[in-house]
């Protein structure tokens, strides 16, 4: 199993108040799954995403990624996991404005002992995968929204991660461009990539194979996309 979450709880302290963002989540995700996590804001989907991406640690519970227990790791070890095993795609792209597309895609590799040598070839290959080979030297402000998100996806893929984690990847895009990006995700998935996508839009989520719905820090349904569609009608 690629991902195994056991009884994950996350409690935030805001002043004296304690907020249960996640409340006993158990979840298993296998290789080459395409999962959408849905829920309204405050449902805990972003917190779950942060924990899956090793950006945050649960208050209690265990998280195994590829058989390794991440909950026992140091900050530096988690950084290495993020660097080598996880690719992030954000709603607002998060590209470096003063770097061209190639440099942006190379960014994860400059922090990688293995990837540093030969990073240019790997970056060019990743850019080719997202179909932006003719925009390699362009800076973010010279690219359209869809192109920016493609660069961000290339950056997420460049280190050959185990999981592609996308947080509202189409949130800042118009519907045509969104379809384009979701088409790219579909292609990546067919090529064997595991994708976990957080979204609140049902239209976006139905592109996934499996849909997990959350409410109040708990998983309320976890179904294949076709079943989920039938039930929600």
């Amino acid at each position: 199993m690629l991902i195994r979450l056991r009884n994950i709880t996350k409690i935030y302290r805001v002043g004296v108040e304690r907020i249960r963002a996640l409340d006993g989540v158990d979840l298993e995700i296998g290789r080459n799954e395409y999962v959408a996590i849905m829920g309204v804001s405050g449902s805990g989907k972003s917190t779950l995403m942060n924990i899956l991406g090793c950006l945050d640690r649960p208050t209690s519970g265990t998280y195994e990624l590829e058989g390794r227990l991440t909950t026992a790791m140091s900050a530096a070890e988690l950084a290495r996991i993020r660097n080598e095993r996880i690719g992030f795609v954000f709603q607002s792209f998060e590209l470096m404005p003063r770097m061209n597309a190639l440099k942006n895609v190379e960014l994860p590799l400059i922090y990688s002992r293995q990837g540093w040598w030969g990073r240019r070839q790997r970056a060019l290959r990743a850019i080719d995968t997202v179909g932006l080979s003719d925009r390699v030297k362009h800076r973010p402000n010279q690219l359209s929204g869809g192109q920016k998100q493609r660069v961000a996806i290339a950056r997420a893929l460049v280190a050959n991660p185990a999981i592609l984690l996308a947080d509202e990847p189409t949130g800042n895009l118009d519907s045509a461009t969104s379809a384009e990006i979701l088409g790219l995700f579909g292609k990546l998935h067919r090529d064997g990539q595991t994708i976990i996508m957080v979204t609140h839009e049902a239209d976006v989520a139905r592109h996934a194979q499996r849909i997990i719905r959350m409410r109040d820090g708990r998983i309320v349904s976890d179904l294949p996309a076709d079943k989920d569609a039938q039930l929600s009608q």
Partner: protein, 421 residues
């Protein structure tokens, strides 16, 4: 290859941080330069102070050099304690025979001359001068004082042994008395006695520090001739030269030991003479100069702290401006140490930039200082070690004051950082 990769990666990370820092500084050119003003002023003043003191030291030491740093003066002196405390001058004074075997017993001493000097009117025909320095010397005097005979001959053994009325003059006396260019064979009057000029001696080198003889008119006569003129109980001193300036302390000790023996001073009794090595003054001067340089540099270096606070301030601004960037870098796998390194390198680079600008300003200041007339700073220049020190200081200030912002950046939570507006 794999063994090499870990240290290589560190180097790569460092170079990468440097490139990144350079582009960051370049992107904020005006801000960066303004930020470093404190460092620039600090480094400029430190280097200018060091340069000025270096110049002063060089000019004073050069003066010592022409005066002769291997010279040792030997004078009779009544001690502060012991049985000779109340002795009369006739007991304390030197006798010529005290020095007869000194050279044979003092291996570090290369030359020795007994010297006595007095002032007499000197005349040649209608020309005369009332205040001429008459110096009784032995042949070694030329070696000790490093002033050779440029015309004619030095005194011979016979001149001295028989106390003959012969003399050497310097150029100033030649001019003053209207002597011929080759004045050997001409006779001049010293006091009431007629002296034959046998040669011309080099003039004392011009020196503002040791120029005690204002007129510079000097006539040299054999030591014994001078003793005859002054009487057997007259005062005289001796000047020795050590083989090198480095052994002058040994030479001093040997002379003191020898003189105590020939003057019959018992163990425990105080010396009835003084032996002063010029080298000792040189060393004392060097020490004082070094201390002053360090103190002055230290005081001015405090201004670097002010500069450092400026750097810290701008680095904190930079960290907060680039919070999202830091968040993203962390998300894609930058370790806290890599983020910290990036900001530290940037702070150090800013400070070194300030150091370089400060050195340039310091050079301008130094050139201006060297141009001040009569300030003895003509030789002012920034020594190599001060350049190294300036960069060392700057880098250290960058490290110290960059540490807090860098740690702040390294500790940022990636989720919060990515959410930062």
């Amino acid at each position: 290859m794999n063994l090499l990769r870990a240290p290589m990666f560190l180097l790569v990370l460092l170079l990468q941080s440097a490139a990144l820092a350079a582009s960051q500084i370049w992107a904020n050119k005006v801000r960066s330069v303004l930020t470093t003003v404190g460092i620039v002023i600090g480094i400029a003043s430190v280097t200018a102070v060091i340069a000025a003191l270096t110049g002063l030291k060089a000019s004073v030491l050069a003066e010592f050099e022409t005066f002769g740093t291997n010279k040792i003066f030997i004078l009779p002196e009544r001690p502060q304690r012991g049985p000779y405390r109340t002795a009369t001058w006739s007991t304390i004074r030197f006798r010529p025979e005290h020095f007869d075997d000194l050279l044979a017993h003092c291996p570090s001493v290369s030359h020795l001359t007994r010297v006595t000097n007095f002032v007499r009117p000197v005349s040649y025909g209608v020309f005369s001068d009332e205040m001429v320095q008459v110096i009784g010397i032995e042949p070694d005097w030329h070696k000790v004082e490093n002033r050779s005979v440029v015309l004619g001959r030095p005194f011979s053994m016979i001149d001295n042994d028989r106390a003959l009325p012969v003399c050497l003059v310097n150029r100033k006396v030649q001019d003053k008395l209207g002597l011929d260019r080759d004045c050997t064979g001409q006779s001049i009057m010293i006091g009431q006695r007629r002296f034959l000029i046998v040669g011309v001696v080099e003039s004392r080198s011009e020196s503002s520090m040791f120029g005690e003889n204002q007129s510079g008119l000097e006539v040299l006569i054999p030591f014994n001739t001078a003793r005859r003129m002054l009487g057997p109980n007259s005062f005289f001193m001796a000047i020795a030269a050590s083989r090198t300036p480095e052994v002058s302390e040994e030479a001093r000790a040997e002379i003191a030991f020898y003189l105590r023996r020939v003057r019959g001073i018992k163990p425990g009794e105080a010396d009835t003479f003084r032996v002063e090595a010029v080298e000792r003054f040189v060393q004392q001067f060097r020490q004082v100069a070094t201390t002053i340089t360090l103190v002055a540099a230290g005081i001015v270096a405090i201004s670097l702290v002010v500069g450092g606070v400026g750097i810290m301030n701008i680095m904190l601004v930079s960290v907060s401006e680039r919070t999202r960037e830091i968040g993203l870098r962390k998300a894609v796998g930058a370790r806290p140490s890599a983020i910290m390194l990036q900001f530290l390198v940037e702070a150090v680079m800013l400070c070194c930039l300030g150091g370089a600008l400060g050195l340039a300003a310091g050079q301008v200041l130094t050139t201006a200082l060297a141009a001040i007339p009569n300030a003895r700073l003509e030789q002012a220049q920034i020594p190599g070690w001060a350049i190294a020190l300036a960069f060392g200081f700057s880098a250290t200030v960058g490290l110290i004051f960059g540490m807090f912002p860098a740690i702040k950046a390294a500790r940022l939570d990636p989720i919060d950082a990515l959410r930062h507006e």
